[in-house]
């Protein structure tokens, strides 16, 4: 809310500077976000235009005779909006005024615009001794009609402008908390300022403001769920009034443009008291009554902004005898609006049911000042406060009031809230005295009674104060948070499951140690993400959790996977840095529950499936590795004989199944999983749309899949301009232990091991894992471990066949293994493979 400090000073007797006032407000919870200083150049006085004549030499200039109080000045002007008899601000010679702003640059910038000094001058042969000022030239805040600033007719001629306008202090931007409806008013803020400065506070006290004539308009409440109270009154004989200058400037500074006197009064009262008013052209109201009710099927209204609105049934409206004349509490209708020529008006000062106004305002997208106030459930006392103030202002301008009509509820008894003084100190950790608490409350018009167990009367405008803790806050705020001491308390030991965080911590460290960089991407994705993905011709995840009210096309669903963002990021990195890109991300991913009905709700594992959405944490990563030449250096692909044929870097070999990069990635994943206590792992091929169909698999424990990994589908790689040697993985965190197990010591071997390598020829289609699994589970004596580490295909083994190289570690626990024993073990292995897979021994070392 924009608050001119001069307006505050109407009610608070203080010399405090705007900065001090801003400070006080901030310290009391009404944060001042900005202070816009208002420059007040000197030698600007109120002048009355006595006569206006055409300039003898220039068609577009006028020569004015201006009374500036005891002196008549001849002033040449180009203004077109000035008439004889107008009172205008005159910059006397010596005054320093501002340059006109480029259109649109206002307010805060005004004070920083360049200035110029006024001096007597001769314009086309006519002497000019001063200047009529436009709002720009005085750096007045807000928006005005073009031309010279025309003051009201009561402005005293010759008086300094700023004094006559009762304006000239800074404008504060106050951030009013949403519970403080009372501070959406100048009076409410002034009350806080007065309490904070301990300065006298004198809000306006208008009289009843009623007349004898009966009000020609009746008020009715048809739907008490929309309107609690409806107060009305007519004022007669209003046309042609000009708003007082001080009102125009206060409104402008608060961000409201002066329109005509009646509208200005309604806006002014709303800003000052917080009570929204609506003024109708009495002549436009039909049927002698207005009623607050819900809109009926098919009703429409043209609102003040000129838009014809088809009303949903139930929308709160004010209707006259012929139909809706406005959206209740939100915006009036165009047909009954008040203009500068309106003679007689009907003033509506209502109290609406907040949530109803709020819903309608949100649905219509009309967040007006009135709606923002009404939706906070204003007090029932306020309509009368607002009406009286409006009556005072209108009557001061000569309008004649009618009687008041009033329908609906009346204010209830004052709310009283119990307050235990010891509870105040127990919650705050303070040792405030009871008298201090009571004084603090009284400064804000609370009425505390009692000595220790207090009963506190709550002023009607503080509807936010309902229970003890609200009063405790008032006391803390009033005395000042800086008076609350700092204290330390040790948290009691607890047994809370922290394993989700622990698991994440361990794993991110593990991947960072493996050379991966962690990234953080936006979980909201959209058409761009899908389009980038589908450039590959491969389908994006069909199951997406859509946002009902997305900000944009590009952020309209929750990510179904971490992969798309990783890919896009990897593409950038690869473009900038070349290969060697290693990235990972940890975050939640989302699917619709009906697409994943098998997912169990397991909050302890981080899997949430109780909101129609499946959400679970994932860790995914990718690496772009060096692309190897088609005819790479011998031996580069591995240690075994398989690479001796020269087609190294098996991943580019057209006929091989040995992809060293893929297996390095698998090794990384296995090492991380081992650390988490998963030692019995197996890998199986498993196709996924985004992976190369022949280079992707799952890593599993006996009971669950714990990782997916593979080489990126070449189409996808190409779509992101990544090389084919791009690999990706994800961990299924929900199936992985969330703590590192404590490792048990195994006695060190006392006798040396023997290594034996063999190569066996088997069917091309046989996975190497089948060989090693079979060997591992056969219980062959002295065989400690076996690994398949390479393969070879080619003329030496024949078509449809391949040679797999195995390396074995052999050991006896109780003595050194003899050559004989080692040979026997190798024979046992070979025999086993012959029997099971018709394998032929090709080589043994």
């Amino acid at each position: 809310m924009r608050l001119p400090v001069s307006w505050l000073r109407d009610f608070v007797a203080t010399d405090a500077t705007a900065e001090t006032i801003a400070d006080v407000l901030t310290q009391r919870g009404l944060a001042v976000d900005a202070i816009h200083p208002q420059p007040t150049p000197e030698r600007i006085v109120v002048g009355k235009v006595e006569s206006l004549a055409r300039h003898p030499q220039a068609d577009r200039l006028l020569v004015a005779a201006v009374d500036v109080g005891g002196e008549r000045l001849q002033i040449v002007t180009g203004a077109t909006n000035v008439a004889e008899g107008n009172k205008v601000p005159i910059a006397l010679p010596g005054a320093v005024v501002f340059e006109r702003a480029a259109s649109g640059a206002r307010d805060g910038a005004a004070a920083r615009r360049p200035t110029r000094q006024i001096a007597p001058t001769v314009l086309r042969g006519v002497e000019s001794r001063g200047m009529m000022c436009s709002p720009d030239e005085l750096a007045l805040p807000g928006d005005y009609d073009d031309g010279i600033f025309i003051m009201d007719d009561e402005a005293p001629v010759g008086a300094p402008f700023w004094q006559a306008a009762r304006f000239g202090d800074a404008v504060l931007e106050v951030d009013v908390p949403s519970n403080r409806a009372d501070c959406l008013s100048v009076i409410g803020v002034a009350r806080e300022v007065a309490a904070g400065l301990q300065a006298p506070f004198s809000p306006p006290t208008p009289g009843p403001g009623t007349g004898d004539r009966p009000c020609p308009v009746r008020v009715e409440i048809e739907d008490p769920d929309i309107c609690r109270r409806l107060l009305g009154q007519c004022f007669f004989g209003l046309a042609g009034r000009r708003s007082p200058t001080w009102m125009v400037l206060r409104l402008a500074a608060a961000g409201m443009r002066s329109l005509n006197f009646a509208v200005d009064v309604s806006n002014f009262v709303q800003l000052e008291t917080g009570q929204p008013l609506h003024f109708y052209d009495l002549a436009a109201l039909r049927g002698g009554a207005i009623v607050a009710r819900a809109a009926r099927e098919g009703e429409t209204v043209v609102t003040l902004d000129g838009v014809e609105r088809r009303l949903d049934p139930g929308t709160p409206v004010i209707a006259d005898g012929a139909g809706p004349v406005g959206l209740a509490g939100i915006m009036g209708g165009a047909a009954s609006g008040v203009t500068a020529t309106t003679r007689d008006i009907f003033v509506e000062s209502p109290n609406f049911v907040g949530p109803r106004i709020r819903r309608a305002s949100l649905a219509l997208g009309l967040r007006t000042e009135g709606a923002l106030r009404h939706e906070k459930d204003l007090p029932l006392e306020l309509p009368e406060v607002g009406r009286r103030r409006a009556a005072q202002l209108l009557m001061a301008a000569g309008a004649v009031p009618s009687q008041v009509v009033d329908a609906g509820e009346r204010p209830g008894p004052q709310r009283r809230v119990q307050l235990r003084a010891r509870r105040v100190n127990a919650v705050l950790g303070t040792s405030y005295a009871v008298t201090q608490m009571k004084d603090t409350l009284r400064a804000l018009a609370f009425e505390p009674a009692g000595e220790d167990d207090l009963e506190v009367g709550v002023p009607y405008w503080r509807r936010d104060v309902r229970e003890e803790v609200d009063l405790i806050e008032e006391i803390a705020r009033g005395i000042g948070y800086d008076t609350i001491p700092e204290a330390r308390i040790v948290a009691q030991p607890q047994r809370i499951d922290e394993s989700l965080y622990d698991q994440e911590s361990i794993l991110v460290r593990a991947f960072a140690a493996l050379g991966y960089h962690e990234i953080v991407s936006l979980p909201l994705q959209g058409s761009k993400t899908v389009a980038a993905w589908e450039r590959s011709g491969l389908p994006f995840w069909p199951s997406r959790v859509e946002i009902v009210n997305p900000l944009s096309e590009d952020h309209r669903f929750l990510r179904p996977s971490l992969l798309p963002a990783l890919l896009a990021t990897a593409a950038t990195w690869y473009g900038r840095r070349g290969d060697g890109v290693r990235l990972f991300e940890v975050g939640h991913i989302f699917r619709r529950l009906d697409d994943a009905p098998q997912v169990e709700h397991r909050p302890e594992a981080g899997v949430f499936a109780d909101n129609g959405v499946v959400e679970w944490p994932s860790l995914a990563g990718m690496c772009v590795v060096e692309e190897e030449p088609q005819n790479g250096a011998p031996g580069a692909g591995g240690a075994g004989d398989g690479t001796a044929d020269g087609a190294a870097g098996a991943n580019t070999r057209s006929d091989g199944s040995f992809d060293r990069r893929l297996l390095e990635l698998k090794g990384e994943l296995e090492s991380v999983l081992h650390d988490m206590g998963l030692t019995e792992l197996s890998a199986q091929p498993r196709e996924r749309t985004y992976f190369h169909p022949g280079a992707s698999g799952n890593i599993k424990t006996a009971s669950a899949t714990v990782a997916k990994f593979g080489r990126l589908h070449p189409r996808l790689a190409r779509a992101f301009e990544l090389p084919e040697t791009t690999y990706a993985f994800s961990l299924l965190l929900e199936n992985i232990p969330r703590h590192k197990p404590v490792k048990r010591f195994v006695p060190l071997p006392r006798f040396p091991a023997t290594r034996r390598d063999i190569a066996v020829v088997v069917d091309e289609s046989l996975p190497a894992g089948s060989l090693t699994d079979t060997i591992r589970h056969a219980g062959i004596p002295h065989l400690e471990s076996v690994r398949a580490f390479d393969e070879y295909r080619g003329p030496q083994v024949g078509s449809g066949k391949k040679s797999i190289a195995l390396t074995m570690v052999l050991r006896r626990a109780d003595g050194t293994l003899t050559d004989e024993e080692a040979n026997a073990t190798v024979r046992a292995v070979v025999t086993l493979l012959q029997e099971r897979f018709a394998a032929a021994l090709r080589e043994a070392t």
Binding site: V427, Y501, H517, I519, V520
Partner: protein
Amino acid sequence: MDDKLAALAAEVEARAQQVRDERELDELRTSVLGRKGGRLSQVLAGLGKLPKEERAEFGRRANEAKARIEASLEHARRRLADAAVEQSLARRYDVTFDALPPHRGSLHILRQTLEDVASFFRSRGFAIVMGPEVETEYYNFEAMNIPADHPARDAMDTFYVGPRTLLRTHTSPMQVRSMLAYPPPIAILVPGKVYRRDALDARHAFVFHQFEGLQVDRGVTFAHLKGFVTDLCRALYGEDRRTRFRPSYFQFTEPSAEVDVSCAVCEGRGCRTCGGAGWLEMGGAGMVHPHVLRAGGYDPETYTGWAFGLGIERIAMVRNGIDDIRLFTENDPAFVEQFA
């Protein structure tokens, strides 16, 4: 025979002194001591022809000669090794070449920041828990004392994914979820992503990271909140930092406070970073509202507590001098590597 032995030994001794490298030494060793065709074995081949009585004596001499040969070879080996060391020592390497970067990975600056926060909370006995990002209106709003149609919901413009299902606007839903899961007392830290339907610019993101501290016990006061947050700000920003508590309004705490920390750039005098205020807004805090305690099944007459929520991006922006919140999720390699 003796003469042959002595001559061979002398010759080896002389040649060993001439040997220039390991290869020549190996050749010499093989030519003399090789099992097949070595000169020593050739000489010893004559052993069989000797009369029996001379054999013992010759054997003794042969061993002496062999020892002598081995000693001279060993001597040469040492000489060569020493020379190699000397040669190595004579080399000079240029340490002023540019360093070759290690192949290290890294943790994101937001995680590094969170970990600093987490270690502070853990040192104070807090447990770290995490919850869902898709929340119900109940936990996000109602349990937090924000009823339907309440204007306070405006402050947290909300993304919805279904009827009464939304993307959490704060980490606070975990307050009530945790209280329902664990009996009092409780002290937790909740980190995580939160969503606000806010346009993306240098200072606002519609997804950002927040953490929530919550401590509920008998006798916990606002003074404890002040102490804790002051210590946290010192731990994060340095011992010289001052904190300021301003009254504020959150539905789920009362009294509520906005916490400011004195600007480290200008030491409170006012600068561009702090917008001239001398203070930087850190986050919201307050005493847990009785309504929230009740929603968590705790008796607000017996237990009091504080809660404190803070944006992790915000901390990193202040601590690391990052001036645009969008940088955190753009993952530009140059940005990531700066904080690696």
